[in-house]
Subunit: 324 residues, 3 copies
């Protein structure tokens, strides 16, 4: 039931989650991002595409890193950006979220980039805003983080070509990860040949097989001959609960080391959404090693966010072709 | 004694309060705002009018909402905006406010938008800055909030035409409200036929009749056949003091409901400076109802602030005519 | 060993400290700043020199004032500016500083303006960033604050002409002052005839004479016939330790008053990096008096920072001449 994301012509109106989007649309995003990556690397990193548009970063959870990538993407398209940290705003004065949205609409803002710790928050807002307002989900609870998934797909395509024949493993705290959920939908839609989730039983959601993935509790088995490894960040707060033993013990069983990496395909790439915990989920020699594409992911993240913003605001019409 | 607001040619130099300004000047602001409202609603909401000017939001009280409207207004006129939250600045290092102002002046800033919890703070600053610096009062204690009054006047004119023959009621905590004070001056200057203040005795300032208003302690009497209702926000902290019983009891006596609204003129409009407390001073059915112009007030607020900034910086000379 | 600051052609690549930079380079900075001072004072204070560049203010210590001057300088050159307050960023999630820098690099940022409480922090970063990234030191612990020194030199040249025949006294807490250290290097390099440091023994670093300065513990002796007086800000926290008696007693011995000022050259100028503590290190009659050039220092600070940014990013090639 994601068609709230599309307008009547089937074009992207909001970007709330990967679930329910078609393959051609995801490929449009990747192709559009490719054209922005070159802008992004130029000496003058500025295109007048969104000049006179107002984009609001509406962050109900603190996040310097993700907010910064959206702010940069918007500024490089020449939009005006407002940063709204909702802790310190009138939310504390008892205003409802819907009233806040309507007020920002009345100020003629065009797009809200929303992060919230409640699953479905971005969907909820998309259902309640006026027709001319657009929402991008920058992470809603443990649900989806669709721009992260698209930058992951972009990076995989960049290093591996088409997704189709690839074996991909996602490793770590699958249970609490919106990145994992969005990546699984994207990989399945784009046709990865096999998607694996790898982690301790306490951190694998029950019934995840229904999403079309294979579950592994042993790291070496899970990484056997894979082409792509997506390491997840281990939230340190999990270790205070009953879900996990110490960081040290986690690293022993699920930390990615050079030695473990040998079981993967010799050309396998290593990805991570950042920020990395060195020595917890990944060894420094791997994070900084030649198979790591963690920093290219960051660069691709700006281009993908530029692409989604430009497509949603209707100023870029992606060419209808795939890049091989 | 507000002539500090005007230069020797009688043009606006600072915008500190409505008190003491002449009718023609207020009408100039409204007419200028009308021309900016169209910019504000365009796809490319950007005019190069204040390009190369530096405007500083100098907020000694936290306020995301009001600060945002000034920031948007400035950016849509292409000014550079600095947000200065004074809690976290060198104010805490013991620097005086005057030294801070002089430093910002020396950085060649052009305009300070000031909010401060002390009455007269903006006047004080206007008296101490260099001749080429301009001050806009974004709220000084319980004294004035002149841009709010002008957006209220704009909204009234938009829905009711000329102010002259109108009966207007301001309802709530008149005692602590800078909005009420500025609105009363503006309505009296623009020639509203009757201005009423409505609220419990503890929240009506003694001697307010001297401003030319009628006092009502009963809501239905106060709203009888009025054309415009301006509801004030009830500060929840008042209810901890001795001034008020519970929010629930307040709503029973002074909350605006559909039923109470029936005593007003059938075409009466309902205004509120926001953010609204649903179920405290206003019922949701009224706030979201067809007589509510609360969201248009927000849109008009951007246009009015653009108008004041542009007029003060001398780049817009209002046409000398009234719109009927 | 500051050659990390220069590229192979001897041009400025980073601006980390004055120590080790040659006289001609410092004079290039002053001459370039002179050309920017005129932009800065124009009605339209905007040059497209750094359009499409991204400059990150990376402040690990809170500082509204210094951050603002860099933000203004960057915006007046049309750069995009990101403010990164590192307390609230992913630094708190355990990310290393190097990982943070590499992430910002991957976002195609061009320059980091860094303030950190550890001496050598900016050098450390310059050693670890990619070749196309530039670092400006906005203050590292008690080590250097080179843009402050250059604005001081600019101000001295503005009021005194060439530095060469001047006698300069720096007064106050020399021990903890990065401003003092950078000023001493700059004055020595530019050829001031005599540099004095004046303060209580507890606040003069041992062996400071090796930098080519004369030490005075008595204020009147130290200021005798000097041409330039640089007062340092007294950090109030020093007075809680054993280093200093009360602020009152400090003022008695080391506060600059009109009376003390009489021992200096009749044309002596009084400088201060700000914010000033009135009645602690300087009397208000002096701070606001006709020999004070404290506010011109602030204006010059914007121009000097514009100059350094533009020179480092290679878009301004200073003319090879000295101004007399």
């Amino acid at each position: 039931m994601n068609n709230i994301q599309l307008d009547q012509q089937g074009r992207l109106k909001h970007f709330l989650g990967i679930e329910g989007l078609e393959r051609t649309l995801l490929i449009d995003i990747l192709n559009t991002a490719a054209s922005f990556l070159s802008i992004d690397a130029k000496a003058v990193k500025k295109a007048p595409i969104l000049r006179g548009k107002t984009i609001v970063n509406l962050f109900f959870e603190p996040s310097t890193r993700t907010r910064t990538t959206f702010e940069l993407a918007a500024k490089r398209l020449s939009a005006d950006v407002l940063n709204f940290n909702v802790d310190t705003s009138s939310a504390s004065k008892g205003e409802t979220i819907i009233d806040m949205l309507h007020n920002l609409e009345a100020m003629h803002c065009d797009m809200f980039v929303v992060r919230h710790n409640a699953c479905g928050a971005a969907h909820f807002m998309a259902q309640h805003v006026s027709p001319h307002i657009h929402i991008i989900n920058a992470g809603d609870g443990e649900h989806e983080h669709p721009t992260q998934a698209m930058l992951d797909m972009y990076t995989i395509r960049q290093y591996k070509g088409e997704c189709a024949p690839l074996r991909v493993a996602i490793v770590g705290d699958i249970l609490h990860s919106r990145v994992a959920r969005s990546d699984i939908h994207a990989l399945r839609t784009l046709g990865a040949s096999e998607v694996r989730v790898v982690g301790p039983k306490t951190l694998i959601p029950k019934g995840v097989e229904a999403l079309g993935v294979k579950v592994f509790n042993n790291l070496k088995s899970g990484l056997h001959e894979v082409d792509v490894i997506i390491m997840l960040r281990l939230q340190r707060e999990r270790m205070q609960g009953a879900l996990l033993p110490s960081a040290h013990e986690y690293f022993q069983y699920y930390g990615l080391t050079e030695e473990v990496l040998k079981v993967a395909h010799p050309d396998a790439i290593v990805m991570h959404p950042g920020p990395i915990n060195r020595g917890v989920e990944i060894d420094s020699t791997v994070a900084d090693g030649e198979r790591s594409v963690i920093l290219p992911q960051v660069s691709n993240g700006i281009a993908v966010r530029m692409a989604v913003m430009a497509m949603i605001l209707g100023v870029v019409i992606p060419e209808q072709k795939e890049v091989h």
